[in-house]
């Protein structure tokens, strides 16, 4: 579908979301307005209620424009060195995300290479990999932080390792499949050349696995961000998007919570897009047939 064909559906969905959002804002914030009027002993008209619900200081559900305003203030207007700047907090989280993603990717690829080439690993590692993902990350995150702290590691690395814990999984699963994707004839061909295992790996298995790798990386980068935020929640971190979420919930600052949430979502979308661009660049370099061409 071309860009023009997408515009109308996308706009329709967005306006529907905005309409539903504002309806919910009125519905959820109105009881507070009625309460306030009753306590003051005054009557309040419906139109007054509607306009008040849009501008509460601590709304149950903030309106879109309140979040946008808060984000503008904390992202654009605040100096990035300020403790109230979302860019500052975003960077703290982003650096842990990227480090964790990098370690997770390398770990995932190494495990996949081992699983594909070593029968003992093939039989034994995968169940552990899957089991690792059945443990709730919220339960294990504080333990990772505490254990690492006990051996003198603190700061960026423990948080990054929580990202790693989540992000290596899709990489292992995708790469095992990708490294096994060459068909029988392609492998037989290597055998007829008496190619070594290393040659077969670099000239056949590795290039074959690229589409699988990038698909996995898109998932991995998004959950790396989740991992970094989760890593900040139970540990009383003072900086990072997770810390902003936590602080917001302590003090009932719903607008602050929502701004941090939106910032995290936008950050995740941008990261996934960057991986997507790298994906199409690599496949183009590998001579992939452009879409829509009938040869």
């Amino acid at each position: 579908m071309n860009a023009r064909g997408k515009t109308i559906p996308v706009l329709t969905v967005i306006s529907a979301v905005v309409v539903i959002w504002y309806a919910c804002v009125v519905w959820m914030n109105a009881p507070f307005e009625y309460d306030k009027a009753e306590r003051a002993g005054t009557e309040i008209g419906f139109s007054q209620v509607v306009s008040n619900t849009m501008n509460q200081e601590r709304p149950v559900l903030p309106a879109a424009h309140q979040i946008a305003e808060e984000m503008y203030k904390t992202i654009v207007l605040k100096k990035i060195t300020s403790k109230r700047s979302l860019v500052y907090h975003g960077w703290i989280t982003l650096s842990a995300t990227l480090l964790g993603f990098a370690i997770g990717t390398v770990l995932g690829i190494l495990l996949a290479v081992g699983i594909v080439h070593n029968q003992a690993m093939d039989k034994s590692v995968m169940p552990w990999v899957i089991a690792s993902q059945t443990i709730p990350i919220l339960a294990i995150a504080p333990m990772i932080i505490v254990v690492l702290n006990a051996i003198g590691l603190s700061g960026l690395l423990p948080k990054a390792l929580i990202s790693t814990y989540l992000s290596f999984f899709p990489v292992v699963v995708g790469m095992v499949k990708g490294l096994r994707s060459p068909d029988r004839a392609q492998l037989d061909l290597m055998h007829t050349y008496s190619a070594s295992t290393a040659q077969t790996f670099w000239k056949l298995r590795w290039p074959s696995s690229m589409p699988y790798l990038f698909t996995s990386l898109k998932i991995a980068i998004a959950i790396s961000l989740v991992g970094a935020i989760v890593g900040e929640l139970p540990t009383g971190a003072v900086a990072g998007l997770g810390a902003r979420l936590l602080a917001g919930s302590y003090y009932g600052q719903t607008i602050q919570i929502w701004s941090a949430l939106f910032t995290a979502a936008i950050l995740a979308a941008v990261l996934v897009m960057i991986v997507g661009v790298a994906h199409s660049y690599v496949l183009r370099r590998m001579g992939q047939k452009p879409e829509g061409v009938v040869a």
């Binding site: 037989d188 061909l189 050349y193």
Partner: protein, 260 residues
């Protein structure tokens, strides 16, 4: 018989499957001399592809003996005795045609100069000069298969093993490639083992036709062709040609009940 490129005596191969043993090859005696063009023909399951794969050391026989260039298939493979052309072209889609043809040379450690020369020479040989920088998807099926033949010819193996290389192509392209293959065989003096389903193809190409039949996979007839080495496409209407084709058909019928 040291000048035989391939010699098999009492060769058998039994696959163990969940439904019991499958006798893919049973008691095959056969020799292929230097410079011969041998076709293997027979219905599915007659073991013709299996026999080729045994020569190539892609399958291990369970009985009997086989020698390739006087040594066992594994040693022959390691000595780079043969080039193998698969049913599908199996070009690597991320490599250009020249890099696909250069793949075996890369693996075997040829120098850059030598590789360049050999790529040019073999692409010339299969009439693909000018397509060096194209990716496989940019070529037709017939051209892809020619590139895969070039890849098998790029290093100096005297034996070319071809497993139904033109099976997926249409009749017109196939005729054309058959003619080119004969030319190439004439120019290079290679020994060729060629698996096919098609009687006309087998008769047109071969100096020797091996007729096989299934359950168990075995050789039922070996026909030495009396056709001359120079073969224009029209030879397929000659009486001699039809006589050989008739004998192949008879051989196939004798070894195979069509009621199954």
């Amino acid at each position: 018989m040291s000048q035989d490129v391939v010699s098999a005596t009492g060769l058998s191969l039994t696959f163990q499957t969940d439904d019991g043993p499958v006798h893919a090859l049973s008691g095959v005696d056969l020799s292929v001399g230097k410079g011969e063009f041998v076709s293997f023909i027979g219905p599915s399951g007659c073991g013709k592809t299996t026999f080729l794969r045994v020569i190539a050391d892609l399958e291990k026989p369970t009985g009997g003996e086989i020698r390739v260039n006087g040594v066992d298939p594994e040693a022959a493979r390691k000595a780079r005795a043969y080039g193998y052309v698969f049913q599908a072209a199996s070009l690597y889609p991320w490599r250009t045609i020249e890099r696909n043809v250069g793949l075996p040379l890369e693996i075997m450690g040829y120098s850059a100069d030598e590789t360049r020369q050999r790529i040019d020479r073999t692409l010339e040989l299969v009439n693909l000069a000018g397509f060096e920088k194209k990716y496989p998807w940019q070529l037709s099926g017939g051209m892809q298969q020619r590139a895969s033949i070039a890849r098998a010819l790029a290093f100096d193996a005297d034996l070319l093993l071809m497993d139904e290389p033109f099976g997926a192509l249409d009749e017109i392209v196939r005729d054309h490639l058959n003619e080119q293959l004969l030319n190439l065989w004439d120019k290079t003096n290679k020994t060729i083992c060629f698996v096919t389903h098609s009687i006309p193809e087998a008769v047109y190409l071969s100096t020797k036709i091996v007729v096989m039949s299934p359950r168990p996979g075995r050789v039922t007839d070996v026909i030495e062709s009396s056709l001359p080495k120079q073969r224009p496409l029209e030879i397929r209407e000659s009486e001699e040609f039809l006589k050989i084709a008739h004998r192949v058909r008879e051989g196939l019928r004798a070894g195979h009940s069509y009621d199954e």
